[in-house]
Symmetry: C2
């Protein structure tokens, strides 16, 4: 017989999922309503309003797809693209590569704009690609590359895409609720995210938002959307006034999302993003003071909420991560793709992003690295992190 759940209580400081707030866990355990219950339809409407807040958009078509962040990525691509369409995809990490893979499965021709891992996309290269491919339909880019820790500024690229008249698609899986996404400001036509990062909600839903222009593209398709499950032309009739049944929505997860978003609304989006920025930079200062090397060299291109740091020479990746997990109940992430075994990824997202976690993690890492004979100045990380947090908070 399979035993009753008896779980360790982890502090989730990886690239996501982050720790779920108790208020969210409580909301998720509320009794189920039917997916067409008038009370549940109100909850859906409220979720849309709250999502419009974090996406910073007035887009009517703002909702949660019934799958994780990658389902949101696929939903955006299969709804806006058709076989034979040309799409420009910016690739500066694993999630850019995933977009290329998905576009290929649709039968699109893909133009890649690349940068080295650990660096953002150069707007100059985007300009060149746009000029060379006037027939392209869409440009897609990852705002927060979870595989590298790179923050991709959108302002210049957004303006270039707008000038060229392409659909502008942004992956905000790791950015939503942790930094400015600015859907309306950057004239983003389609954006997708996940619940398990800065929203302090379990994985399972993908918040998305579509502009009116994107919906027009959807409405004028020649072919049916290749995925029935992700077909927005039907799903929007369930999230919209019509309330046509499409599939049974993940009701409890929507309770959870609504509660995570309520918490952001209460704290205020600016205060939330400031918290992520201050504590992220504080962690990065602490790690640097301990003698570790950042993957992303320039601070302005470093995500605040996901820090990639090289594993010091002679230190075993799995040994350190296992000890953090087993001795401190702290989970951090390993490297992905070409950083596998070479970097750690430390997340400070949502509820996990608090000052205590910064200090606890640095102290735990110091203790483990010291025992593994990595030379460091005792207490330097914690001291620097604390000083940095104090100073940055004051300057805000």
């Amino acid at each position: 017989m399979v035993k009753e759940l008896d779980l360790p209580v982890r502090i989730l400081l990886g690239p996501g999922p982050s720790t779920v707030h108790p208020r969210v866990l409580k909301a998720m355990s509320m009794p189920l309503l039917g997916h067409l219950d008038p009370e549940f339809l109100d909850i859906m409407n409220e979720t849309t309003v709250l999502l419009q807040g974090v996406f910073e958009t007035k887009n009517h078509q703002t909702m949660a797809m019934s799958g994780t962040g990658s389902a949101g990525m696929e939903a955006v691509f299969v709804n806006l693209l058709e076989p034979g369409d040309k799409v420009i995809i910016c690739v500066h990490g694993l999630f850019g590569e995933r977009m290329v893979d998905i576009a290929g499965r649709i039968g699109c021709s893909v133009v890649k704009v690349e940068s080295a891992w650990g660096e953002p996309i150069d707007p100059g290269k985007v300009k060149t690609a746009l000029a060379a491919n006037p027939e392209a339909k869409m440009l897609a880019i990852v705002q927060a590359e979870t595989s590298t820790g790179v923050y991709q500024p959108l302002e210049e690229i957004a303006a270039l895409v707008d000038d060229a008249g392409l659909l502008f698609v942004v992956d905000a899986v790791t950015s939503l609720g942790g930094m400015e996404v600015g859907v309306d400001k950057y004239k983003i036509d389609a954006v997708y995210s996940g619940t398990q990062k800065n929203l302090s909600v379990p994985p399972g839903l993908s918040p998305v938002s579509f502009s009116e222009r994107a919906l027009q593209v959807l409405d004028s398709r020649k072919n049916k959307v290749q995925s029935w499950y992700l077909d927005l032309s039907m799903i929007r009739q369930y999230w919209g006034q019509e309330r046509f049944y499409h599939h049974t929505a993940p009701i409890s997860m929507i309770y959870a999302l609504r509660e995570g978003l309520r918490m952001i609304e209460a704290e205020g989006l600016k205060a939330v993003t400031d918290r992520h920025l201050v504590l992220g930079r504080s962690l990065q200062a602490g790690l640097t003071a301990m003698g570790l090397e950042m993957v992303v060299k320039e601070e302005k291109f470093r995500l605040p909420n996901l820090t990639s740091v090289f594993i010091p020479e002679g230190i075993n990746d799995l040994e350190v991560r296992s000890r953090l997990l087993n001795e401190y109940n702290i989970e951090i992430g390993g490297g992905l793709g070409r950083y596998k075994g070479k970097a750690w990824r430390i997340g400070l997202m949502g509820y996990s992003c608090n000052r205590g976690n910064v200090i606890l993690f640095l102290a735990a890492l110091e203790a483990i690295l010291s025992e593994l004979s990595f030379k460091l100045e005792k207490g330097a990380g914690i001291k620097e992190a604390a000083a940095h947090a104090k100073c940055t908070a004051e300057s805000n």
Copy 2:
């Protein structure tokens, strides 16, 4: 500001979702683990074992897809079919039609075997279709048609498909955990279900199981699976020994599924399916005694856990359902497709399937119908249902 969740406690007697058991709600609210945490990997393994139990299979590739039941349907179709493949689809309701839609989006040619709504598929027609289409790759059928309440016996059809050597695909969304699915017994190659019916778990996951032969078909594909999100060739490396990251699993939902399945394991699958049978027939006897007409004429083709009944002449569908909801907190389902406004669908699934709910529902319906001047013999429904339940239970 959006207010704190304050929900009515519904008794969910529709076609799904059913009421979630408090033990499942509790499991779902346990602290989150990471999707690669060794403790979570154990939970995944246990979930596979428990799912093998309800599917009645030894299939190694038994797991939960990260979407609702319809995602499971799409997953089976996109993984096993390629453009140009011919597929025979049995259509005796809305969910058969959905399979046709999905197969069309893949670029398959579809041969339909149809029956009138409210009737099961005639094995004779299947035999004819198999003979006429020797090049067909797969035959798909819905075991429990949620749109009509028809139970589709699989035995004869399974033997025909086996003789013809096609892949055999079964939709078990409404049957799993409520009646025999018999994956190994009927040599089913791929089967999918949902969590929100007889498993007493919220919607959000799709349990699936694939035979070795199905996996060989997957391995010998000419083209990539058209959906990245549902690509089993990658997902199986996460659920399997490799533990390769694909997407972030809906962790809390898997806790919930595991708990719902533990409850079935504890009660015993035979006892669980007996309970659904006894109480379903009891409800049907009660409704008939009240003077209502079953959609499915022959009892042997009537689902025990989902009863379709015609709305009596002169009675307003929405008025009755609204009163059930507002006065008794009872949700039942309206008709789908050609039964919209003409039938009600009453589910007795999982935790919702208990004797008290049968009596409560019949009493509430009687009270409302009496007030709406539908002529019925007072108390006949309840009396007949109780007698039927007693008698059937004794004969088991």
